[in-house]
């Protein structure tokens, strides 16, 4: 069965790009536009991987990661940060909150797939 991935980003462009790349690689993809929406989606299904942006309205990526790691249903699921955030502190915050890995935008589809295979074979 295809792995299910939740892509979280407030930018529709980014969601479209990530989803397309993932679907093409054979993954099953759901989308959410911010942390709150992501938690809602996670509450309704089982996912094998979460890919999230950091800067989002309502609930940002860091809070989302903390929430997921504190909860029970998806706390063992790998979480990748996909962000344009270029200064190291945010990335470190994400890592401290419990992210599994990260990729900097703009991403190349190959790199994204490679990274996913690295954390979620």
């Amino acid at each position: 069965m295809a792995k299910r991935i939740l892509a979280v980003d407030d930018s529709k462009t980014m969601r479209d790009m990530v989803s397309f790349t993932l679907r093409k690689a054979g993954f099953d993809v759901a989308e959410a536009e911010d942390g709150k929406a992501a938690l809602n989606v996670l509450g309704g299904g089982k996912f094998d991987l979460i890919i999230t942006d950091l800067n989002m309205p309502n609930m940002d990526g860091i809070s989302l990661i903390k929430n997921v790691r504190a909860g029970s249903s998806h706390r063992a699921v790998p979480i990748l940060i996909l962000t344009t955030e270029s200064d190291g502190t945010k990335k470190a915050d994400g890592k401290a909150a419990g992210a599994t890995g990260w990729l900097v935008k703009p991403f190349s589809p190959d790199k994204l797939i490679e990274l996913i295979q690295r954390v979620c074979p």
């Binding site: 790009m17 309704g44 299904g45 979480i79 270029s86 900097v104 935008k105 703009p106």
Partner: protein, 693 residues
Amino acid sequence: MMSESEAYPLEQFRKTYFEECAELLDVLQANLELLAAGAGGEETLHAIFRAVHSIKGGAGAFGFSSLVAFSHVLEGLLDAMREQKVDATPDVKQLLLRASDALADIVNAARSERVLPAEFASDILTGMEEVLAGASGATAPASAMSGLESANVAVQGERSYRIVFTPHTEMLQKANEPLLLFRQLRKLGGLTVDANTSRLPAFEALEPEAAYLGWTFVLETGAPESAIHEVFEFVEDDCDLSIVLLHEAAEAVSAATAASATEVAPTAVAAAEPSATVAPTPSQSIRVDVDKVDRLVNLVGELVITQAMLTEQGSLLPVDQYPAMIQGIEALAQSARELQESVMAIRAQPVKSVFARMPRVVRDLAATLGKEVKIVTSGEMTEIDKTVIEQLNDPLTHMIRNALDHGIESPDDRVAAGKPRQGTIHLSAAQRSGRIVIEVSDDGRGLNREKVLAKARDRGLVAAGVNPTEEEIDNLIFLPAFSTADVVSNISGRGVGMDVVKRNVQALGGRISVQSRFGAGSRFTMSLPLTLAVVDGMVVSVGKETFIVPLTAIIESLRPQPSDINPVVGRGDVLALRGEYLPLTYLHRSFAIGSAVTDPCQGIVIIVQSEGAGRIGVVVDELLGQQQVVVKSLEANYDAVDGISGATILGNGRVALILDVARVREIGEKSGVRTITPKEKTIEVREDMTHAA
């Protein structure tokens, strides 16, 4: 960046991106206005940051390098503000506003694939960099590339490394799986593994989620040491790791220990229960394709038409015999009306998106003209149909420009007149009796009625001996012949005038008027229908055909005396009306309809405002009544027809064409057979607007 696959729908992503940019720029603009006004809180700054951040993120994906570069610096400044390293002083706010304008220009350039000059906005960039450099401890963010992007260095000879790796429990909690790291390592070269199980407790004491194991690897690889670090990139902080280059060829590690490593079960936390796949819970709002909404609007339109037919038929039934039937028809009418309103509400959007662009128009023009002007908006949340909003931008921009160009005086003149240096333009929207009313008022010099009237007489727009009221004088400025003038008219535009605005507002089924006090300012009031899908129309008959004339276009209707009709050679008939001569257009000739009334004195003349030709009289057989009709597009179902703006189905099931009064004179001038010219009408309006801008 994204070019490796031909199936990758880059064009589509681009389109989405620019749509998103438009929204983000609106958000940016609106929040910057808040910030500039000192009204915004912390969230305002966050919203500004996010907007710029998102624009930059997408720009990178499409390789818009100048957009990335500019938004990067702007983002850095905003980030420093978020961290309170830079204060939002008036200068900084001003800089941000200019930067936001420049950002919009760069986005537009990227969209239209134009290349901006290298020095574009360089002063703003420098300004932002200076502010950043001045802030203690704040540095512009580093280059966007790092981490995984660090590329492969030239391949070197094989070397041996000893890697000692002991995960902490935190590493496992972050879903980093040791086994996967082994696989990554193995990709680099020959790998032998020795597991250290010494910390493994007795079974009873075993914490299922804790990390007890450690490993020692020997890796023979041609890859540089950085490649090994890269494997551990995500876990470096959550493990003990040492990587040592062995000078001598590594001692062979026994095959037995290597095997034991591969048997190490994944130490990660047990996977959650098998999935019971449930549909994701939707969020508060959904994005729907406009086409789908249009289809819904269309269907509801059909439903309302059917309902009107039923109501008409029902009214013929005797009430005492069919009480339930008649009750049902009434209930249906009620539901249909409510359904229609609800569907229209889906398309309704706040005028905010258009209003938000106006401060920029004011800033740009004020700077050019050397005037000091502020714009105050109110009622931005008033909702109006999306199609109306889209077409509101041009007329509104034009009105604002006019107010600024010709209404507001120069700062010195204002002071001399006892007014504050800074002029004010007030932009407001409100809903009044089923229409939306948008007002643009300024506290400038107002209309000089004497000059307006003198000029109108000069141009033959007002006959000698006729004394118009003050209101009539003010509204002379909307006449086409008036605005192209070079005389000081206070309001006329730069070669294109208020007549264009009026024509565009009329095309939306709206009306526009002006009130003014000399020396104190002017107020333009624009009243628009809430939707273009429903029109208030006068139903008229011509022969066996039925037409709808939009009520907003009708000035008056009358039955003339034979002495009022005069033929003019080469121009057709004219109607003498209170000292004015109006050309007559016969609909039966325009549309080649037989058995119609040919003598205007036997029929009715409807006086309408046409495009270009001023007021004209349209000759029809008779007026059948007033009715609200649902507009169906001709273009979508058949083809565009000159002089016809759409069609509708009447209660009796017959199709009636809706007259495009602005164009009806032109078809009257062409003789004989009607030809079909697709889409001409819409294109022409757009062109007019481009000139007006």
